[in-house]
Amino acid sequence: MDRTQLIDKLWGDNFFGDERVVDTHVARLRKKIEPDPANPTFIKTVVGVGYKFEDPLVA
């Protein structure tokens, strides 16, 4: 999903800030659920697009 889609899903029409705030939240999420936040296995960055949630067992 790209940032725009994520924002749509999360806040819908009530978002007024800068899109980059998504990055901050993703970083926080990674800290919580990734065994190694620096090398994420669940939440992957797709360069030029956005983020992708991957289940390493299926991928």
């Binding site: 889609q5 806040w11 009530n14 978002f15 007024f16 800068d18 899109e19 705030v21």
Partner: protein, 362 residues
Amino acid sequence: MKMGLRGRLFFSHLVVMIVGVASLVSISKISSPRLFVLHLERLQNRGFDLINIRTELVTGFELAWQRSTIWSVLVGTTAAGGLSYWMSRRIMQRLTEMEQITQKFAAGRMDARLPVSDIPELSGLSASFNRMAASLEGVEARRREVIGDMTHELRTPLTVVRGYLEELADGEIEASPEIYRRLAKETRRLERLVNDLQELSKAEAGYLPINIQRVNLRPLLESLVEKFTDQLLEDGPVLLLQCPSVLPFVLADVDRTEQVLVNLLGNAVRYTNEGSITISVRTEASQLWIAVVDTGIGIAPENLPHVFERFWRADQSRDRHSGGTGIGLTISRRLIELQGGQIQVESELGIGSRFRFFLPLA
């Protein structure tokens, strides 16, 4: 058939005239011969021998009286009749003129106004009519303005959608989820605009259902701070709440107040890049004042008086995620007013803005 005003005026003049003439003639008929006879007797007593010619004298007198009375009645009533006719016509002319001008106005000439008249009552009527006409003309002009603004606002997203669809149809671009998302986004924007407009027209006509209750607003403020803090960047502005821990109850509609605060906070987030956005709450007399103060880009002094007007936008080209519809503040103001409060704004370019409103205490 009902008699018109001119007929009535003329008729009333005639009646007055007839009464006047009739009393004049009858009193004269009764008293003049007797006075003449009295005069003759006085002359008799002074030595004039009038016995032989007394009858002739009296007859002559009566004849003279009759003739002159007939003439005077004829001339008098004709003159009076003519005068009364002319006077009623003059009055009627004014009224006919007024009727013509009001008809012109009713037919659509909104700039038609009644002239001042030398008859004070008619002048009063003219003044009243002119005030009403000016007010109606204003309403018409505003209505036309709103329709004009609205069509422009609606057309923009429609043009975008049409552009994409036509290019898709011509095969100039390939269908992709991205394109569909863009189409959906513009359609949503249109939906939002239509909803906002509907709300606005309801609010302005007073049809918006307002559910006023005794409420404590603190929980609402806290939840809004939470929601909005998530939208702020780390190096962006910080959201603060300055509010006494115990707030007095106010008479308000919680959902509508939330709507207003979302609007104000949204604007603050949109136009503030650094510094702070503070929600500050204060009690003053019988009012609860809530202010949203930001250190954003501010509003230019020449724009400040227009900020609450329909479709006014600070930055027309802004294409942020929810590019504002331009009627958020207009609706907010109406919502606050419908709850018995008032909203104000202060701002300085480059320094920040302060939007504050009050609600009545319970």
